[in-house]
Symmetry: C2
Subunit: 308 residues, 2 copies
Amino acid sequence: MKEVVVKCPATVANLVCGFDILGMALKEPYDIMKLKLINEPKVIITNKDDYNLPTEAEKNVAGVVLLSIMEKLGDNIGFEVEIEKHIKPGSGLGSSAASAAGAAVAANYLLENRFTKDELVQFAMNGEKLASGVKHADNITPCITGGVTLIRSIHPLDIVPLNSPSLFVTVVHPQIEVKTSDARQILRKEVLLKDAIKQWGNIAGLVAGFEKGDTDLIGRSLEDVIIEPVRSILIPGFDEIKTRSKEAGALGGGISGSGPSIFMLSTDEATAKSVELIMQEVFQRLGIDYKTYVTSIAQEGVSEISTK
Amino acid sequence: MKEVVVKCPATVANLVCGFDILGMALKEPYDIMKLKLINEPKVIITNKDDYNLPTEAEKNVAGVVLLSIMEKLGDNIGFEVEIEKHIKPGSGLGSSAASAAGAAVAANYLLENRFTKDELVQFAMNGEKLASGVKHADNITPCITGGVTLIRSIHPLDIVPLNSPSLFVTVVHPQIEVKTSDARQILRKEVLLKDAIKQWGNIAGLVAGFEKGDTDLIGRSLEDVIIEPVRSILIPGFDEIKTRSKEAGALGGGISGSGPSIFMLSTDEATAKSVELIMQEVFQRLGIDYKTYVTSIAQEGVSEISTK
């Protein structure tokens, strides 16, 4: 039967002041997923990775997404899936979203695009639920559509693609563990109204900045007064990297997803590379292993590499 | 010496989910202000109105704005001001902002436009401080610039004009008193994080809707889960008007400023007029005097009518 190979990009969710509502797709890193239609109602996972990801369908992010698609179809079909994982699980770069969104989009290719984009997001959210306990869509949506996306609401699902200027993104993934569930737990359930007002001023400025392609406005709006002050405590070197990156000319940035990765936006590649040097210098000094990327916003989401 | 007559539009601040950060200018109602340069360092107020507004410069909104301009100039000049007031004080339609912004802009005309837009906003905020105790700019800014404006931040002042589609606005001013200071006091100092997230999803959607000219998105985003549920209690008939207006085809709306006026946005004039009938019917039934306007977003702010 038919088979497809797709590229599944990393994503930055919780885009600074856009906690839970804004995400963007990155050109790098990305996973490669091969998906094959089979005529048995089951999901076979044949991953080779270094992360000991479960290969039982019910416990695997791509697996549960595919199972939810099969349940919807009710046909006598199944899938064989193999993922070449380059986005490290737990990095805060949307590793589970890449598997979830990749599985949904790849399956849709094989099923002659019978599902809408919103339905694909709904299927893929089952994978996020498995990975983090919460059905959030701010990694999945940009992973599927590319660019910068706003999730105005989850219930009902309301996805708004935003204009995304061609910005460079520098990412550092320090090899420390920050669990999404822990990162959620340390947040306060209540916030000061005056902080919330600052935050929605910034999110409004950020959205206007993206739509207008006004990079200065994007830079001025990249401030998070609610989540970052709490979560950044879990990431050594965060404040220094942010301060020095902005001094070096970056527009700003913050924690990617729930961390520990940090990202910074720049208008030019030279600045993005200076930011990389700062990140490397800080984590070398702290004696923490790390991986860096100098990349840009991907205008395309999960995309077909080959098919047969 | 020179004299100028300007038109000072009413404004809607706290634009639904954009509490403290979003405002828009209306074509109607508006005040007419005549300002004359005099060669004595004082402000003479010769208003004729039905509202017993103070005519002592230090206690008058336009007066304190003009005094702050004179202080900045340090010259031996002053102003004679006469306001024909059509925006009722306490209506929630930016009556004090119209006086404050009008005085700043008119003075700037007479002073050969020596001040920037940001400086005019700063001067005019002195008037808002006198009127409500708080230096807010979400009425003043659209009053000066027209259209829909975002105040991303007050300190430092960061004004972002947004694209404003040509929408119709239906306004009702029920003749009840809601003091801005009372309306502030009943707000909770803390809000639930989950509500704040909903709110910034909506504000992001609203800004994207304005920028894209997507009226459906504007409509979906016109929800305020934080301020309106508390403040609407002070306005009889609010819930019924909102529900029935949306049933009649309005995009949505909410409390204008801190109330008691209510506004609703529509894409066409016929709907805006049906909304007016609903507003009239509700307040007639409640036995509350009211005034309604069917108008539209003013693309122009304070503007010169004549000069000599």
